[in-house]
Structures are given as structure tokens and as C-alpha cells.
């Protein structure tokens, strides 16, 4: 059980935050993370268009043998991607809490520039404090 990694994408599909919570993950180059985020953003847009159900919101969960990825898109267009072990329960709750931490420690930091990469030490700290006990 456990959370593997968290990514935050801005509304244009740019990666603004990426963090691993598991030692065993393969590291990508920072450029590859950007490509991954951009690709996901595109796939997400496509899935919302090709859905047979009108007004569909796009890809939300992707499951594989080794991990499960959940995407939460806020109404403002920011995406939170949570990578977790396949049977991690309550990802919905975790995502909501991460969003609250983001609203508090990123958006309310007056020196954080909106849509730019997140370099907020308090956000790092609080995110870790929230995720770590749940591993």
C-alpha cells in the first residue's frame, strides 16, 4: 500500500510540481517528466472529446498491474495526478486533501506566481507530513 508519486499540471498542461514518495521508482530526466505531463494533458483532452457520453470530463483513472494513477481536475483546470499502489484505498480523499494543501500553501503564498512551477517549501513540508504516515 502506498502513494508512489504526485504531479501537478497547470491548465496549459505544464508540469508545475512533481514529487516521488517511494524509493524504488525509476527516475526520469526533468525533461521526460515534462513530456509525460504534456502527453497526459493531451490524452486527457482527447478522452474527453471521444467519449460517447456528452459532457464527459475525460480520463480519471488508469490501472495497471503495478500501479494505479488517478487524475483529479479542478474546475479551474489544474490537474492533480496521484500514482499509487494498485489497491490503495481512499485515493479520492487523499486527492481532495492535496488540493486543500495546494490552495493553502501554494495559492495563498503571495509570492507564488500563478501557473508557474511550485517552489514552496511549506507545501513540500505539509505534503510530506500528510502522505508519509499513510505509507
Amino acid at each position: 500500500m502506498g502513494i508512489l508519486a504526485i504531479m501537478v499540471l497547470n491548465k496549459a498542461g505544464g508540469l508545475i510540481y512533481q514529487r516521488d514518495f517511494n524509493e524504488g521508482l525509476k527516475k526520469l530526466s526533468s525533461n521526460d517528466y515534462l513530456v509525460l505531463a504534456g502527453t497526459f494533458h493531451g490524452v486527457h483532452a482527447i478522452t474527453s472529446r471521444v467519449s460517447p457520453v456528452p459532457g464527459s470530463g475525460g480520463l480519471e483513472i488508469m490501472e495497471s498491474e503495478h500501479f494505479r494513477m488517478q487524475c483529479f481536475q479542478t474546475l479551474t483546470g489544474t490537474k492533480f495526478l496521484i500514482f499509487a499502489q494498485p489497491h490503495q484505498p481512499n485515493i479520492d480523499v487523499i486527492v481532495k486533501r492535496v488540493y486543500e494543501l495546494y490552495a493553502d500553501y501554494v495559492m495563498k503564498n503571495p509570492f507564488y506566481q500563478i501557473e508557474m512551477p511550485i517552489r514552496c517549501e511549506a507545501f513540500d513540508r505539509n505534503l510530506l507530513a500528510y502522505i508519509q504516515p499513510r505509507q
Binding site: 491548465k11 481532495k96 490552495a103
Partner: protein
Amino acid sequence: MSANKAARIGEEVWKTRIDKVNAELVTLTYGSIVAQLCKDMEGDYLEVNKQLEKMGYNIGLRLIEDFLAKTNMGKCANFRETAETISKIGFKVFLNITPTVTNWTTDGKQFSLIFEENPLADFVELPDDGRAQNELWYSNLLCGVLRGSLEMVQMQVDAHFVNDVLRGNEVTEMRVTLVRIIDDELPPGED
């Protein structure tokens, strides 16, 4: 979503999830900002209005995320629902007031918010220089907050005060107009 439901959500979130702060602190902080702006702009109240709106806009861009994270609101089905949400949840949660939504135009794109109470303006009397009463919109920050926060959820609006008890009007009234829905699925210039 009915007005009643919005009121219930607003009450619930305000009670359980909001850290409270002394109202006087807010009133005095806001007051000193406006007073300082009036000084800095050398009494150019139109410019003060503009600056307050801009400051509010920047607050709105950020505050909307807190609003969404705390309330778990989904999309509003129409602009009427948006108006109820602004009044009964937005203002309730952040200022503990619920301005009345009224004076709809028939096309459903324009409404008024009537503020029976306004914590920003407690204790305030506008300067007696013959101009402030006609030019300064003391609480103009709020217009900016609405514009900024709604822009983040794909609504371009125009918000401005049309009446203010500080100016001697009967009520404090803000007019909000939906200009357009921002459809940003395609980046500009690629259609």
C-alpha cells in the same frame, strides 16, 4: 441547485471548515489600505477604484482554489446558480454575509447583489472633500475578487458598484454581468 441548498452548504462549510478571524482586524486592515491608496494617488479616487479592483482581481485568482477545495462544489448549471453560489456560499464562507441576489435581467446574464451588511465598511465615513462621495467606491476590491475568481472558472464577468450606503444611497448594490463563457479548450490561434 436551489437557493436553499446553497444556503445550507454555505452555513455548513462556514461552521466546520473555516478559521475565523477578528472582524475588526479585517475592517481596519482594509481601511488602512484604502486610506493609504487615497494618499498615494493624491486623491485621484478613480485611480484608487482601479487599484482596488486590481488587488481584488489578484486575490480572486487565488481565492477560487481555496473556495473549491473547501466546498467541493461542482460546476454550476447556469448563471443563476452561479449567482446563488457566490452569495450564499462564497460571501458566506469568506465574510459571513449573504448579499441578496436580485434585479435579474430577462436574459439571465445580469444581476445585482444587495449588501445589507458589509464588514469592510464598518465605521467608515468617506472624506468630506466633495469628491470622494461621488467618485470613490470604497469596497471596490470585492468587484475584483468576483472578476478574478470567476475568470478562473471560465466566466468573464464585469462587476461594479452602482450604489453604496457610504455615499448616502439607500443600499449597497453591486451589478454583475456575464460577458462571456471562456472556452479555452483550444489554445488561442489554433482554430
